[in-house]
Symmetry: C2
Subunit: 157 residues, 2 copies
Amino acid sequence: VRRKSYADMSCSVARALDVVGDPWTLLVVRDAFFGFRRFEDFQRRLGVPRNTLTERLNRLTEAGVFEKVPYQEKPVRHEYRLTAKGRALRPVIITLLQWGDEWSDIGPPPVVFRDDTTGEVVEPLLVDRRTGVPLDEMRFRAVPNRDAASSVAPETA
Amino acid sequence: VRRKSYADMSCSVARALDVVGDPWTLLVVRDAFFGFRRFEDFQRRLGVPRNTLTERLNRLTEAGVFEKVPYQEKPVRHEYRLTAKGRALRPVIITLLQWGDEWSDIGPPPVVFRDDTTGEVVEPLLVDRRTGVPLDEMRFRAVPNRDAASSVAPETA
C-alpha cells in the first residue's frame, strides 16, 4: 500500500514526513547514525522484511537522504551513506530518542550521548541560536511566515 | 492494517516511533500545537479519513499524548488536549519542521517561531544543556548506556 503524499501541504512538517514519516525509515536512519551502511546490517538489526527494506532504502536514496556507493566489485555490492541532507536528520532522531527516554517505560536510557572532550553525558536541549533561550518557554509562538505564499499555521496560533 | 510494534526494541527511538511513527499522528500533534482540539478541526485541516482520524486520536489518548475532555453536554462532545507527555513532543515537531524548511523545495518557511519578547524570528538549535555547545559538533557520540540492561547501540559507534 503506497502512502498518501503529504508533499502538497504548505507545511514543512508535512514535507519532512513525506520523506521520513514511517517508522522503518527513521529506524534505518538511526542505524545509519550508529555507523551501519549495508543492507544486511540494517536487515539483521531491524528484522524488517527484505522487500520493505529495499523499498525504504530506494526511497531514501531517491530523496537524497542516502547516497548509494559501491564498496566491492565482483560481485558489485553497495552501501548506503548518509548525505548532508541525511545527516541533517540528527536533531530529529535525538529529540525522538529523548522523548522515548522520558515518556516510555524503557527504564534507564539504552543510548546516551557522550561528549568526547569532557567524557560527560549530554542532555540535549532546543534553544534559540541567537539568544540561547530554551524553546520550551511560553514566549515562543509558531506564526505564519509573511514571506511565504501560504501556510497551515492559523493566524491566531 | 495494524502496524508492527517496535516497543520491544531496546531503543527509545523505537519506543517513540511506536507511538508517533506515523505521518497522520505527527500532523495531528502539529495541529494540536497550533491550538486545535476538535475532531472536526483536525479532519477539515488534514483531509484524513474519519475512521483513520478516530483510530489515531484513540491511540494517542491511550498512549497519554492527549486527554479527552468534554466541552459540551447535550449532546456530549469531546476535545483532545495535549498532556505533559504530548507537549513534550514539541522539540520533535520543531526539528522536523526545521528539516523540512531546509531540505524540501517548499520555498520560504511557511511557519516560523517568533519570540514574543523581542519580536525576532527564532532559529532552533540543539545544544548540550550544561555547556551550550551545539550537538552537531563531531565531539558528541551515541554510546550504549552502562546502566541499561541492553541497547541497540553498537559498542563501536
